[in-house]
């Protein structure tokens, strides 16, 4: 509490590190090395040991991260921001771009989350991918992802973040399309890539704008100079960064790729599309607090995006029969919570990160649990074919239940603490935002209960010939650890520890006076959650669940099944202006390239295919285009002069 209660966000000013802190570069370097070794030597040569190498490098990074964390803990609060200059990437005249590491309370938490959960998921994958011929390559990609993600959170500037940003995008693309023999997986990978590129554009433009405005893109420089920029610049910057965040974190309107991304192997869904990569957007917003603190417009936009996504994701989660897609909807929704909190400014940043951590635990836990269930059910993902599994896979059931209780916010579990805080802060900001967050909590309770009942309780609706069995130890141990974390994650809030811990990064919030006492909010939330559970119990458990999804359903259900017409909306809203090119190309690409590959080149449709007919092959028509071009150039010159 040593910081004065000024409006502006703290300026990033790292000090140099020593001891373990000078070895920080090893944290991303180790997984990168693992990826390099595995991918360069190739699948065949490394397959006997690649999975252990992959796991070991991440685990080692975790250990270094842990030691570094305690070092940081031992430092003075004002001294908890450690910088390490790695190399000068660009040097042009007066202007340089350095690549370096910024290790502060915020990135230290992320390092622990990424390497910690990452190690567990690596371990789990050893079992999950045991029968896949390309397991070594899988671990190579997974290591690549971890390395890129660590670069993202450890960089000391936006360019470094962008580097990691692109890296995780690439790794995500490779991993979603890992089973590329499935056409759905290949399409999903492409879709994820394209939608993410739209977000990346925001990142590129934001970085370029920063460079043009401030002459630097380091957090240190930007945080120092931000208050000097014009309001318009700050607004644009904030919106561009939000666009980037939306792409990576699957927020409305760039949410559509996440549900399809579930085509990837389940550990990927757990690590990338639940615990870490999709939270990069939240990281970006929190990290850029020095910009968002200065722009009301930017923060409002973040809040709106968060609120809309949290409801949309929850509604989608209600209607999905595919267990992974239901969880994906839930992920969207939970990240919506984090965004919402981040948009609330100083009061919310810490809770956004807190929820991000607890969500990382319980969602990874549930995804891995879902993977374990799928493992037992011969890779069937349809929950209508599950039921009564609690006997068949007891460990999975118990661990999953811990995650379940955490996500719905059962008092005492980690999710309870983090979500409660967000809802409370939201009410402090505005009644409507608070109500949206509250409604989200109720819906979450509903769909998660539905998922639990359909999967583990009720009667057997198994496909013939399926004999569920519990997964091997190598898979259940990570489940148990994550379950424990899901239960106990709330300790981070003890004595407001996490709020104090992050204060040097995001600033200290003045205490809001709430219209009602805090305990009242907690009770309301618990009550709403209880209602959600009860409704699910009445609607799902008390009735018979048909093995086929009923077709005569309400409009809402149909809409939710169709991802709230996310793709349709994409087509209608995004395709027309600007982005239609990009989206349209996906379809075009499917039609055309695949056509070419199949040897049926005649399937050429699409704008490029139409336009290229301009290239007739006749010299005279080319000469005509040169002639026309000459006229164009002359006219352009004259127009300027006469106009």
């Amino acid at each position: 509490m040593n910081i004065s209660l000024s409006e502006a966000a703290p300026v990033v000013s790292p000090t140099s590190g020593d001891g373990v802190l000078s070895l920080l570069w090893l944290i991303p370097a180790l997984p990168a090395l693992g990826a390099l070794v595995i991918l360069v030597l190739g699948n065949r040569r490394t397959s006997p040991w690649a999975h252990w190498l992959g796991t070991a490098t991440v685990a080692l990074s975790f250990l270094i991260g842990l030691v570094a964390f305690f070092q940081l803990l031992g430092r003075d609060e004002s001294d908890r921001s450690v910088g390490q200059h790695l190399w000068t990437w660009f040097e042009a005249g007066s202007f340089t771009v350095d690549l370096g590491i910024l290790y502060d309370p915020l990135s230290s938490l992320f390092v622990l989350l990424i390497t910690g959960v990452g190690s567990l998921i690596h371990l789990y994958s050893v079992g999950y991918m045991a029968h896949d011929a390309a397991r070594a390559r899988f671990f190579g990609y997974l290591n690549l992802f971890v390395a890129a993600m660590l670069v993202l959170v450890l960089s000391d500037g936006y360019l470094g973040v962008f580097l990691g940003w692109e890296g995780v995008g690439l790794a995500s693309y490779l991993l979603i399309g890992f089973w590329h023999h499935k056409p759905t997986a290949a399409t999903a990978a492409k879709k994820a890539f394209v939608v993410n590129r739209v977000g990346d554009m925001g990142m590129v433009l934001a970085t370029t704008l920063m460079f043009a405005t401030f002459g630097t893109v380091s957090f240190e420089g930007v945080s120092e100079l931000a208050s000097g920029a014009s309001q318009t610049t700050l607004n644009i910057l904030a919106l561009l960064l939000l666009l980037a965040a939306c792409g990576k974190s699957a927020q409305v309107p760039l949410q559509s790729w996440l549900l399809d991304a579930m085509e990837g192997p389940t550990p990927v869904s757990a690590l990338i599309h639940a615990a870490t990569m999709v939270t990069a957007g939240v990281y970006l917003v929190v990290r850029s607090n020095f910009i968002y603190e200065l722009t009301e417009v930017g923060r409002t936009a973040v809040v709106i995006v968060g609120a809309v996504t949290l409801l949309a994701g929850a509604i989608i989660g209600c209607a999905k029969d595919d267990i992974k897609k239901a969880l994906a909807g839930s992920t969207m929704s939970q990240i919506g919570y984090m965004m919402l909190a981040a948009g609330l400014g100083v009061a919310g940043y810490a809770f956004a990160i807190f929820h991000l951590l607890t969500h990382g635990f319980f969602k990874a836990n549930m995804f891995l649990g879902a993977g374990s269930v799928m493992h037992a059910m011969d890779d069937d993902v349809n929950m209508r074919h599950y039921g009564a599994l609690q006997k068949a896979v007891p460990v999975t059931f118990l661990t999953f239940a811990m995650g379940y209780l955490a996500i719905i916010g059962f008092p005492g579990f980690s999710g309870f603490w983090s979500k409660d805080k967000i809802i409370e802060t939201a009410f402090g900001e505005s009644l409507w935002i608070g109500l949206a967050a509250l409604a989200g909590a109720g819906i979450t309770a509903f769909y998660m209960t539905r998922l639990m009942i359909m999967t583990f309780l009720g009667r057997k609706r198994w496909e013939p010939g399926v004999h569920p069995h519990e997964s091997p130890k190598v898979m259940t141990i990570p489940l148990i650890v994550l379950a424990a974390l899901s239960v106990l994650g709330g300790v981070l809030l003890l004595g407001d520890w996490i709020v104090d811990w992050l204060t040097p990064v995001v600033g200290h919030a003045e205490h809001h006076e709430l219209p009602l006492p805090v305990i009242a909010y907690t009770l309301i939330v618990v009550a709403v959650v209880a209602v959600g559970v009860a409704v699910a119990w009445l609607l799902v458990a008390k009735r018979d669940i048909p093995r086929e999804a009923p077709q005569k359903v309400s409009f809402v259900t149909r809409a939710a099944r169709a991802d709230l017409y996310g793709d349709a909306a994409n087509e209608a809203l995004l395709m027309r202006p600007g982005n239609n090119l990009v989206e349209g190309l996906v379809t075009f690409d499917d039609d055309y390239v695949d056509g070419v590959v199949d040897g049926t080149g005649s399937a050429a449709i699409g704008m490029s295919g139409t336009f290229r007919r301009i290239q007739t092959g006749y010299v005279r028509s080319y000469a005509l285009s040169v002639f026309a071009g000459a006229l164009l150039v002359v006219l352009a010159l004259l127009a300027v002069n006469l106009g």
Binding site: R612, R613, T616, G617, Y618, V619, R620, A623
Partner: protein
Amino acid sequence: MEAEPFIVLSAILFTIGGVGVLTRRNAIVVFMCVELMLNACNLALVTFARVHGNLDGQVAAFFVMVVAAAEVVVGLAIIMTIFRTRRSASVDDASLLKY
């Protein structure tokens, strides 16, 4: 000396050459049209040299002639190989490369 008529004439020649390139099919004729364009440039250069009273334009015209001659050599060689292979000097026949 009034320069304008010469410049207008050179512009007309240039345009005739340009339009010829666009409309004629025979590679040789197309090529002649290009040469016409170059000579229109020469006329303009020489006229301007006269207007400005220095020799730069005239020297330039010499160089243009040389370049035009070199272009003839290279161009005719290319057109001839094409003709020998295809038995046709039509520029429209050479359209395998497209789209």
